[in-house]
């Protein structure tokens, strides 16, 4: 019964979305039909309610382990802990698609109830375009991957959830990531509605900014959570593998970052308008491509769910429409948006942001090429190749390095002005700081790549610190508090997010350059040394979990002076329901670095394979991402200047 209610609610949501995408939109073009424009908001609320009911029904079927529903039977098990029963509802293709629709509807609802600064017409058109995206995904869900399909006869027990997915990471990672992917749909709707209006201005940009910031924060958090999950769950010891699915989430992030910056130019100076519209369309297309990669099974990946070509074709269709139609609209309406002649100077905030955008897009293109090149080559020549991490290290890293140099310069430049003098002192300070560090590092004999990375991080840090100090002028005590308060929240948000980048760089460098590893096959009682640590393998245990059995190694970790630090218990888990083995790493985290232990195959005769890693600063990678998100939150939630027209001189 519950499943039928859910199915029905989903159909209702599709019908209301179709109404919402047509009636109010047509009404905005005919003065005589003006009354119908009012329908947009109630229809949005109605369809959001329908989708939410459908999702709630799916959750109920998972919680109650209703195995007459095919999806539950395939992905759940009555013995599974409750948290994983709930998160299991989106740990599969159909459920995750429904989650996508729910988030889409929630964004639509929030937008419908807010953003009053926009004109009625624009507001209605944005809702209508957003509803079109909803239609595509609801139809995809209903026609190719209905989560509510019944099984007859119902099996007595479910097949269980892939044990790798039975983790708190799965409860958090997909919803957060989707919150980011889907948030870009509003930017897309704003862009298309702006093209329909033929007008893009400060009001448009200021209304869009909170959504882009929210989507960017969620995307950053989602990617960081995914990386953290891969780090501790997969047991490979890495945090980024340049896997197609990871690339698929990084590309929209880069585009969203570019969009976040270019929207500020529209909000402040009404510059970059066509460019911002293109970026919004591109950003959403990239998140669709991301979905396409994961759902079609076209690219093999450690992440792939079971795949189905029909679904891939459907998403490809959505993709072609979502990219093609707006681009045609852009060709038709775009010339109206051409930037007014404001003749800004070469040395200005605008140029800084232009360079930022260009570099972010170049790096997006690099990843896109590396991800799809193997596919293209196989289609054309039949040769099967792999483009591995070395490609990305050789291309993406230098481009991002240049972007970091400009991250240290751009924020110091004023809008429009053509002088560099007031910032020159900061450049001298930064240059000296970076130079000093380079000399120290060079005399210590650090390899060039590390040297480049470290000096970039110092450069950025010095630029942020000196910018803050020069603006707050702490040496003039009078009015210090007032100066601090008078700086707008987005300014603090930017500093915070850029500082997050410094922390991230430090983490990535520490982990990348100074990692140590020890892999040995040993008997219980042996001692393994790992850099400044030594690890004693005391014994092997067999334990029983709620729905699995383990083989657990007991390792005692000591520092270089022989002080006991902690016990580490890496394990291999066997899940009888799914007949699968997973590896659970044991990680001892600290501020300055992690010790990471993995138990491999083995038996009492031949010994056990134990892999140990020491990863300095690795947690700074996710810490940096968290600081970036905090920066976004500060920028979005903090105090803003009263009217959009005044958001100008200092903020980014």
């Amino acid at each position: 019964m519950i499943a039928e209610i859910g199915h029905f609610a989903l159909i209702m949501a599709l019908v209301t979305s179709i109404l919402q995408a047509s009636v109010p939109l047509i009404a905005t073009y005919h003065a005589s039909l003006n009354e119908y424009v009012r329908l947009a908001v109630p229809l949005q609320l109605l369809s959001a309610t329908g989708i939410t009911i459908a999702f709630a029904c799916l959750l109920v079927t998972f919680i109650t382990s209703d195995f007459s529903v095919a999806l539950v039977a395939q992905h759940s098990h009555s013995l599974k802990p409750m948290l994983y029963k709930i998160s299991g509802s989106w740990g599969n293709h159909e459920g995750s698609l429904l989650l996508w629709c729910v988030i889409l509807a929630l964004y639509g609802m929030v937008f419908a109830c807010t953003s009053q600064a926009l004109s009625r017409i624009t507001h209605t058109r944005i809702l209508a375009i957003h509803a079109m995206v909803s239609i595509a995904f609801l139809a995809f869900s209903l026609f190719t991957s209905n989560p509510f399909e019944r099984l007859s006869p119902a099996p007595i027990e479910g097949q269980g959830l892939n044990p790798v997915l039975q983790d708190v990471g799965l409860a958090l990672h997909p919803p957060t990531l989707y919150l980011g992917y889907v948030g870009l749909s509003l930017a897309f709707a704003f862009a298309v509605a702006g093209l329909l209006d033929g007008r893009i201005d400060k009001v448009w940009a200021c209304a869009l900014k909170p959504y882009i910031t929210a989507a960017w924060c969620a995307l950053t958090a989602g990617i960081a959570l995914g990386s953290w999950w891969a780090y501790y769950e997969l047991g490979w010891g890495g945090w980024w593998f340049w896997d197609p699915v990871e690339n698929a989430s990084l590309m929209p992030w880069l585009a969203a970052t570019a969009l976040l910056h270019s929207t500020n130019v529209v909000a402040a100076k009404e510059g970059f308008r066509s460019w911002t519209v293109l970026l919004a369309i591109l950003g959403f297309s990239l998140s669709l491509i991301g979905t396409f990669i994961v759902r079609s099974g076209l690219l093999t990946s450690v992440h792939s769910f079971a795949s189905d070509p029909a679904r891939g074709v459907f998403i490809l269709g959505i993709l072609v429409l979502a990219i093609g139609l707006p681009l045609c609209l852009f060709v038709w309406r775009g010339p109206q948006l051409a930037t007014k002649k404001t003749a800004s100077f070469l040395v200005s905030r605008e140029t800084g942001l232009l360079i930022n955008n260009a570099l972010l897009l170049v790096s997006t293109a690099i990843i896109l090429l590396g991800t799809f090149y193997p596919l293209g080559l196989e289609v054309m020549t039949g040769a099967r190749i792999t483009v591995g991490p070395p490609y990305f290290a050789a291309t993406f890293s230098p481009v991002m390095g240049i972007a970091v140099i400009f991250m240290g310069i751009g924020p110091l430049l004023a809008w429009h002005r053509g002088r560099i003098s007031h910032a020159s002192m900061i450049f001298i300070i930064c240059g000296l700081a970076t130079g000093g560090v380079v000399i120290i590092c060079f005399s210590l004999g650090i390899e060039p790549a590390a040297l480049a990375g470290i000096s970039l991080a110092i450069w950025l840090l010095a630029s942020i610190m000196s910018d803050i100090i020069l603006r707050l002028k702490p040496w003039r005590s009078a009015g210090f508090g007032a100066r601090m308060l008078s700086l707008p929240a987005p300014q603090w948000g930017m500093w915070c997010a850029h500082f997050g980048m410094v922390v991230f760089l430090a983490g990535a460098l520490g982990e990348g350059i100074y990692q140590r590893e020890a892999i040995q096959r040993v008997q219980p009682g042996s001692v393994i040394s790992l850099g400044p640590y030594s690890v004693t393998f005391t014994q092997i245990l067999g334990l029983t979990g709620p729905n699995y059995q383990t083989q657990t190694a007991e390792l005692a970790l000591y520092d270089d002076r022989g002080n006991f630090l902690s016990m580490m218990m890496p394990e291999k888990r066997f899940y009888p329901a799914e007949k699968q083995v997973t590896t659970e790493a044991a990680i001892r985290s600290s501020f300055l670095g992690d010790v990471y232990a993995v138990l491999g195959d083995g038996d009492d005769n031949k010994g056990y394979t134990i892999r140990l890693y020491h990863k300095p600063l690795v947690s700074w990678i996710w810490g940096g991402a968290a600081i970036m998100v905090l920066g976004g939150v500060i920028a979005a939630c903090g105090r803003r200047r009263k009217t959009p027209l005044l958001v100008s001189e200092d903020t980014v």
């Binding site: 079971a306 170049v362 040769a383 291309t395 230098p398 997973t582």
Partner: protein, 149 residues
């Protein structure tokens, strides 16, 4: 500065960036592409010193694991390749399992430095499944039946 020189500078900058990016991409692609072969492909073509991937089934009874060094035979049921790997094998390395090994040939022996077997019992790397299908030796369902992560 006039708008014209301004534009000139920006265009120049954009071209430089693009040129740099294209250069990086081309040189990186040239060096970092790894081709995939089945044991029969290797029999047909000649062995080269290039880095490559081979994929197939681990032949029953061929795996000899001694401490952290393993030797085994990869087969597609027509041709075989001897592989040596120094390191910890992945959890799901089993005889009869489809795996991918990446490395270089040293004489007739393939020295692998990466061995990939996925987390799932029923999973087979797509390349391996495809090459088995081509040889008509495929048994079982779709290659990605079992969901991985």
């Amino acid at each position: 500065m006039t708008a014209k020189t301004h534009r000139l500078f920006l265009t120049f900058g954009a071209l430089m960036t693009l040129g740099l990016a294209v250069f990086l991409v081309l040189s990186a692609l040239k060096e970092n592409i790894v081709y995939f072969y089945s044991p029969s492909d290797i029999e047909e073509t000649h062995l080269s010193a290039k880095r490559l991937r081979v994929g197939g089934l681990v032949k029953d009874g061929s795996a000899d694991i001694d401490g952290l060094s393993a030797t085994f035979i990869l087969t597609d049921q027509n041709n075989n390749i001897s592989v040596r790997y120094d390191g910890a094998l992945p959890d799901l390395f089993r005889e009869g399992q489809g795996i991918i090994a990446e490395g270089k040939f040293n004489g007739d022996i393939f020295i692998a430095d990466i061995v990939l077997a996925k987390h799932d019992e029923t999973y087979m790397p797509r390349e391996v499944a495809d090459s088995l299908k081509q040889k008509g030796l495929w048994q079982g369902g779709s290659p990605t039946d079992g969901a991985s992560q």
